[in-house]
Subunit: 334 residues, 2 copies
DNA sequence: CATAGATTTTGAAACGATTCATTCACGGGT
DNA sequence: ACCCGTGAATGAATCGTTTCAAAATCTATG
């Protein structure tokens, strides 16, 4: 069926060892021979068998990336960053989508573990990291993405959501707002809780300012619209003049509700709005929305970095935490 | 380093062959022995080495899915359909993103070919299918997704864009509109050209109706807004009363421009709007947008089906073409 | 021209699972 | 007591690569 080194070797009149050397250490082979072997490879259409190579080498030339939602641009960008960094190293990245399901995640991890991938970058679906500990115990480096390692001794790359929440709130205060609303939920999602905490602490630093939590059942457009409708009268009465949304979908929903109310709210005059994540839709909303941006590609490339660290030399696990950044648009200033 | 069948066999007091049988054909092994071997596996934390298995078996238990844009919900859903169907077969799916770049695609295909995946599902980036022909020549089934095979003898799964365009236009005509605008471009994208052609032919069947093409440089929100602004006066003058957008991003941009014009256009009263793809944002637009939906998960599962056909028994390549479906919302009827 | 040293090339062993022809064990029938 | 059949278990051969000690070849030098 397939063409193997053996055929190539025969065709080029050399030994299999030499073919392998041409493939992996051409500088140790006489240029003339390299030429001859390469010709044979081309002629026969030889493609090395990854399984055999991997079996011999013990570890594979690829990394696994398991994300919660492959449709989320956040993860798309993380993936891009990871792939680019991995390519520098001659590694490839297999991406898998757990879709927030623990079983799907489990299935993918099984495959990757059997495949003996060189490392796993994962944004875990549940709270149980024991499976990951197992994988690491089998010698495969694991790096948590967008989640701090906490007690567990994993390397991790994450973004400081407390700082992000503070950034958003402080910007609203700095632009003259005094009574903020934080929209987000459910609070059991750590990211949401952290962002709220950050916003709260920024507000409490200013005795003239207040903040109030408006719970959301999910982080969606429609939920944003629902909450937005409830906010309209409060804004009209001057009891809310700034809104921090826990993500951009909520923010967009909120904006729609405000702008399309029977008696529309003006933005940024009557109220300032800050979203979170800086998705593409935030920039092209009716009134472009100020948003907190996470260094997405950087997260991906750093994650690969940490996997590599763990791989060669069992370095100490490291936890990298990036600071988010504010992208100011017309929803808060003109 | 790793635990292999050998250790498991030793620990359970059986031969390696028996361990393998427990893994693959437990019904041929005495229940008592199965038990003993399973205990040993659990105790030692044995994980089969996929590379070794694959080397011996010749082909891998996984499929590759290469998409143009992993952020596009279309492909996310295709992937889900493919994964589910593959899981039924005990196969896993590795997803890779070519990001519309021929080199990225090339890199991924190299890896997959070396990995000897069981099949490749791909939405190719360029027009050159020779690399894919090569892969197939090496015994790996290839199925084109969202692109017809044309001359080439590949299996393919696609959706009839001509029918989709016709569906959109006819719906506008059926709801009383007479003068349509088709917004989309560039026309070298086959999908766009087909949709336009379908819309045109539907219109030409009705002598009282007209259709006019409004070119777009890209299929984005902002471009939609730009074209939308140009459409406002035409609608006001009654020279356009129905719009077919080549995708939902354009449609959303157009809607924004119309609703936020100095003298806003009413929808659906003054104009009807139909988008294409039925992305989530279409349903939650300010005025929810009627859209043409493609059977996305079905496309994925069918693609896997076709790969399997090609794999066992070298069946004739098949081309499956699905009909799209119209999802009616408030942008065309109240 | 002999030889040490450097450069190339060789080919067998190893990686870990599956396969399959062969051997083993155990009853039942005569 | 013997033979046969059936179900269970064995283990050597195999897949395609990489590695590395050893062999072969070449180069420079005395």
């Amino acid at each position: 069926m397939g063409v193997s080194v053996k055929e190539v070797a025969a065709h080029a009149g050399v030994s299999v060892g030499t073919v392998s050397n041409v493939l992996n250490r051409p500088e140790h082979v006489k240029p003339e021979t390299v030429e001859r072997v390469r010709d044979a490879i081309r002629l026969l259409g030889y493609v090395p068998n990854g399984a055999a190579r991997q079996l011999r080498e013990g570890r594979s030339r690829s990394l696994a990336l398991v994300v919660l939602d492959s449709g989320n641009p956040f993860f798309t960008d993380v993936a891009r960053g990871a792939e680019d960094r991995a390519a520098d190293e001659g590694l490839s990245v297999f991406m898998a989508n757990s879709d927030d399901s623990v079983e799907r995640e489990e299935r993918h991890l099984d495959v990757f573990e059997q495949q003996r991938v060189g490392g796993v970058l994962i944004s875990p679906a549940g709270d149980d990291l024991s499976r990951l500990a197992q994988i690491r115990a089998h010698g495969i480096p694991v790096v948590l993405v967008d989640r701090e390692a906490g007690e567990s001794a994993f390397s991790s790359v994450s973004v400081d959501d407390v700082a992000g929440g503070a950034l958003a709130a402080r910007h609203l205060l700095d632009t003259g707002r005094r009574h903020l609303a934080f929209v987000g939920g459910p609070l059991r999602i750590r990211q949401v809780a952290d962002r709220f905490q950050g916003a709260s602490s920024a507000v409490s630093a200013d005795p003239t300012a207040t903040i109030r939590l408006f719970g959301a059942d999910e982080m969606s457009l429609d939920e944003g619209r629902r909450v937005g409708e409830a906010l309209v009268p409060l804004i009209k009465e001057g009891r809310v003049d700034g809104i921090v949304a826990a993500n951009d979908l909520l923010a967009i929903g909120i904006q729609r509700a405000l702008l399309f109310a029977a008696d529309p709210v003006r933005m940024p005059e009557d109220v300032g709005l800050v979203g979170y994540d800086d998705i593409a839709f935030a920039a092209s909303a009716v009134v472009p929305i100020t948003s907190v941006r996470q260094p997405r590609e950087l997260i991906g490339s750093t994650a690969v970095e940490l996997v590599l660290e763990q791989a060669d030399g069992a370095a100490e696990p490291r936890r990298v935490v990036y600071k988010p950044e504010l992208v100011v648009r017309e929803s808060t200033v003109r």
